[in-house]
Symmetry: C2
Subunit: 252 residues, 2 copies
DNA sequence: TAGAAGATAGAACAGTGTTCGTTACTAAAA
DNA sequence: TTTTAGTAACGAACACTGTTCTATCTTCTA
């Protein structure tokens, strides 16, 4: 029972206490142990935390304590915090269902895919920051990209236009979701830095009309679009019919 | 010389050493003192740090040590780190020059304004994250917004379309700059997670062609657009002629 | 000249990501 | 069955972060 590896000290007080504690609860804990943590379990609890408390609350320690362990244990399954973030957005992208391309309704199809992405990003507030903090090169994100590419190419959109507009749409969905998360998520405490609409309108009306004539004249329009309208409007601009005409500058 | 305010302890060892040090260098430091720090000085050094080392390197302590002081001293002029970030992007927005609206070349004008924003954001790598982390309600950002609104409204774009497309363009410029910063900034160490173009093409070619047919067929187009082409392409989509036709859904 | 106000710091607190070294356990080899 | 190698788990610590409390110091005003 005495340790044999290194001669060292004759068992410290904490070690002795730990041995006693382990001896005291041998019933179910010995056999079933503690359900060893895996990448799936880590990602699931991480997503749970983000869904409930926002992306800012997601720290290694927070995940670790939720799994009843220390932060160092996570590094056996995940290289970085950044890698954890990447895996999370990969998991979200994996949930997006891709349609079989139908050239007659390509706009509806691709806007629907973007809507699914938005839905996932808004469900986990702030998580889209992880998308903007790293290069989106995971296989799951590439799968979504491939699906969008298929829709556009089958519809007859030139390859260069398709590639670039997909990139633009992905960036927009990400930034939109992030900004939208700020407005809704903070939730509990209402004295946040992000104001609600009526407050924003009043503040805009306080601006000097000679310096900001157009702003004060259109406060209503500037603050509109809390629902899907603004989102769909922008996507409608990006995925317009003008994409079909190959009007790109003269380069390969 | 003995402290009078509160009786307390009779001068600690560190205090004693500090007094000695202050007594040892009375020559020029007494008269010229230390050039008291102001918001301008703080913002200038902060921008300098971001320009040279990126936004991630911008911490309160980093700014403070650059000003030869402690972090607590900054809080007399700035409420938060967040407020510092806001002031920084405000300073960048203040540099944007706004044209007097000319309806005949409204697209050139507004794309130029977006290009100026991009220029500022790329000069200070990663700083656009500050834009996405808070509500853009400072007067300087509103000034830019007003300028863009003026260009569009004078051109005859409906108010609701103008407001929404400006929002979309601002989000896109921000996200684009942030992603572009990742690719270029890391600079020094080349073994970053962001790959250069040839590496990316090779990686894409390794994908299974049956699962990613369109991606592997168009690796060139997917990785193109390192210059201004991709940026201008997207803005061309957002600020297209179709904006003039008021094709918004039937709501106020 | 005395007092009040405000800027400047030092020290500390509660967090963060990450690594080191040591245990504890599992599963394959002798 | 016993031994051994490999690896997951984990406690403790390091170097950071933003922020606040307190005390000192400077400077302007009455």
């Amino acid at each position: 029972m005495a340790k044999r590896t290194t001669p060292g000290d004759p068992l410290s007080r904490e070690q002795w206490a730990a041995q006693i504690a382990a001896f005291e609860e041998p019933h179910g804990a010995r056999g079933a142990r503690k359900t060893p943590l895996s990448i799936e379990r880590i990602l699931d609890t991480a997503l749970q935390i983000v869904e409930g408390e926002g992306f800012d609350a997601l720290s290694m320690r927070r995940v670790a304590t939720a799994l009843q362990t220390g932060p160092a244990s996570l590094y056996a399954h995940v290289r970085n915090k950044g890698e954890l973030d990447d895996l999370l957005i990969g998991k979200l992208c994996a949930r997006v269902v891709l349609p079989t391309p139908d050239p007659r309704q390509w706009q509806r199809q691709i806007i629907d895919v973007c809507g699914q992405l938005r839905e996932q990003f808004l469900r986990y507030p702030g998580i889209s920051r992880a998308t903007l903090a790293t290069a989106p090169n995971s296989l799951d994100t590439l799968r979504v990209s491939e699906g969008m590419l298929a829709i556009l190419l089958c519809a007859g959109v030139p390859a260069q236009s398709a590639a670039w507009v997909i990139d633009a749409a992905y960036l927009y969905v990400t930034a939109y979701s992030l900004e939208s998360s700020l407005r809704n998520q903070p939730g509990p405490e209402l004295d946040n830095r992000v104001l609600d609409r009526s407050e924003t309108i009043e503040r805009l009306n306080m601006l000097p009309a000679n310096s900001f004539p157009y702003t004060v004249a259109h406060t209503h329009e500037l603050t509109a679009g809390e629902g899907n309208d603004r989102f769909n409007f922008t996507l409608g601009l990006l995925f317009s019919d003008s994409l079909m005409s190959t009007s790109l500058s003269n380069q390969p």
